[in-house]
Each structure stands twice: as C-alpha cells, then as structure tokens.
Amino acid sequence: MSRFADVLNQVWDRLEIPEPSRTRIVLEMASDLEDSYQYYLDQGHDETEAMRLAKEAFGTSEEALRHLTKVHASGIGGMADRVAGQVGHIGAGALMLVLVVFEIWLAAVVLTEEAFRVYVSPFVWPIAGLALLAFAFTIWKMVQIFSRSGRHIGRLRSGLGVLLFCSGASLAVSMCGLFFHLQRFFRLNFEQAPESLFMNFAGWMVSMSSMMTIGLLVAVLAALVWFVLSSAVARAERREMETLLAVGS
C-alpha cells in the first residue's frame, strides 16, 4: 500500500472522470508524491516530516480537480476512454469472443469463394495490408499486456490507437473502392455495347461486395480487438490502483 494512500483515496473519490483515465491520473500522482517525499528526505527531514511536507506541496483544490475532469471527459479521447472503460463481467467477454470468432469465420467464407478470387478488387490488397498490420500489432500488444515480467502499467495503453487507425483506414479504403468501382462500371457501360451490361454488372457486384465485406470485416475486427485489449489494460491498471490504495484490504 502506498504511504500516501489517504491522499490518493481522497483524489480518487473526488475525481469524476471515466475509467481508465482516473486510474492513470492517480498512478501518476502517486509517482510524483513519492518523488516529493524523497526530495524532502534528501533535504534532511525525517520520514514523518517529509511525508507531511510532500502532502502539503501536493495540494489538490476542487478547482484543479474540476479542470482535470474537464480535460479528460471531453472530446474523442474522453469518449474512447468511456467505451474502453467498460470492464464488463464474463458475459460481456464471452459476447466479444463470439463476435470475434464469427467475424473470422465470415472472412474465411468470403476469401475461399471462387468468385472472389476471379473478380478480386485491387482495393482488397491495401485492406489486407491493414489487416496484417492490425494482426501483428495485436500479437505484440497481447504479449506486452499479458506477460508478467518487465511490463510497466503506465505503458500498456500506449499505441492502442493503431488498431483504431487500422479500423478507420479500412473503412475509408472500402468507401474509396466502392466509388472507384461505381465510376468504372458506369464508364464501361457508356463505352461498350449494351449486351455486355449484364456481364459487367455481375463482375462489378462481386468485386464491390466482396471488397466491402472484407473492408467492413477488418474494420469491425480491429475495433473489437481494440476494445478487448483496452479493457484488459483497464483491468490491469485497476488492479495496480487497488494495490496502491489497498482498496478492500
């Protein structure tokens, strides 16, 4: 338990910020309080006096906490934190797992179809690249989050935005591909004989729909993985916080 558990508990109770931001802020404050305490010890004060001086120098006014709340509860970051902080019980975890497995199965069905291989859109390749990037990053991040040795709680969250980037980029590429194929389809029909219309339409539908399917699958999968990993990090941060504050002991 931290020697400053009383101060940190007070901040914890007064800070109206969604998890996991609240935990991260209190962890930072705990580190700075220890630095302050060490400074006063080095100045020659005894432990009790050093603790008193460190607490006095710390000082969290209601106004400061209100400003802190305003900074963290607003904007896209605040929204992402509120989503990621839904550290749910086993039911939510099971639902996530079912969704991820379903997405992977759906992707496998589309990728193994003959028509997909014949009419594959060129836009599938950048989407595949994004999927690979998201996969490699997920593996690296899972090792970081779930390994016990050498990890630091403050760094687990860094870089999770890559998954959201892959998700958004996949959607963006799919939409670009959709309009590209649409434009190409109408242009071909002006240039070629009408009897080719049905063949063009069928080929276009397969290209476009399989590209959109893959693009949307990668987008949803990357977002799901982000949610799962963010929740895992939030749980780890929460456990660290409970150790510091000795909550429930």
């Binding site: 901040v11 700075d32 302050s36 400061a64 900074v71």
Partner: protein, 123 residues
C-alpha cells in the same frame, strides 16, 4: 480583436481574459524546452528559476500538463530512470516548440504595450 494579442499572421495567441492560464502554460512549455521533466521536477525548476515567484502545487499542475498533452504540445511517457520506480516524464513536441516561440513573441509584445500604458519607470 479586442482583448487579444495577435501573432503577425493574425491568429490570437494571448487572450487577455485568461492571462493566468496562458502564463502558466507558457512557463511549463519553456521549462520543458530545456529537456524532458517529471511532474515534480517541473515544479521544482519553476520555483528555483523564478526565485520562488512561480510556485505550483502539484495538484494544480496536472490539469495544465494534461491539457497540453491533449493538444499535442507535450508528450508524456513512463520512463525507467534506473531506480526501482518508473516515472511519467513529459517532453516538448515540435508543435509545442512552435507554440512556445509564438507565446514568447506575444508576451514580449504584451509587456511592450503594458509599459506603454503604465510608463517605463522602474522597469
């Protein structure tokens, strides 16, 4: 624009209505310009460099630091400095350096205009 000190490009840099906030932010950006600092180091250095005039309680520093981080002007990271504990250290980003330069110029302009009004005696 009333109550604003303008950059040459016309973008407001100093809002007279929130001088205290911009002053605090500029002080922190300027301190970080010399290198990365932990929260506690920032407070100490500000106090020492200003001979005790600029004193922050740690608690009041966090909203400023986190706001600057959210705006992309500084970047925080947990670092291992060789001791048992890891600390969150902040460093200035490229955008932060640009903002600091703009603020320096704006504050210099502000004080020129201030002393135009109150007079140069005792400056």
């Amino acid at each position: 624009m009333k109550g604003m000190v303008q950059e040459p490009q016309g973008q407001p840099v100093l809002d007279i209505q929130s001088l205290s906030r911009t002053c605090n932010e500029t002080l922190i950006l300027a301190t970080l310009a010399s290198g990365p600092h932990h929260g506690y180091q920032l407070v100490l250095e500000l106090e020492q460099k200003s001979d005790g005039v600029f004193r922050f309680k740690h608690g009041t520093l966090y909203p400023i630091l986190h706001k600057l981080e959210k705006e992309g002007l500084i970047e925080g990271d947990w670092l291992d400095d060789g001791s048992k504990r890891k600390r969150k250290s902040y460093r200035l980003t490229t955008s932060g350096r640009q903002r600091l330069e703009a603020r320096r110029s704006a504050w210099s302009d502000f004080f020129d205009r201030f002393f135009n009004v109150v007079g140069e005696e005792g400056r």
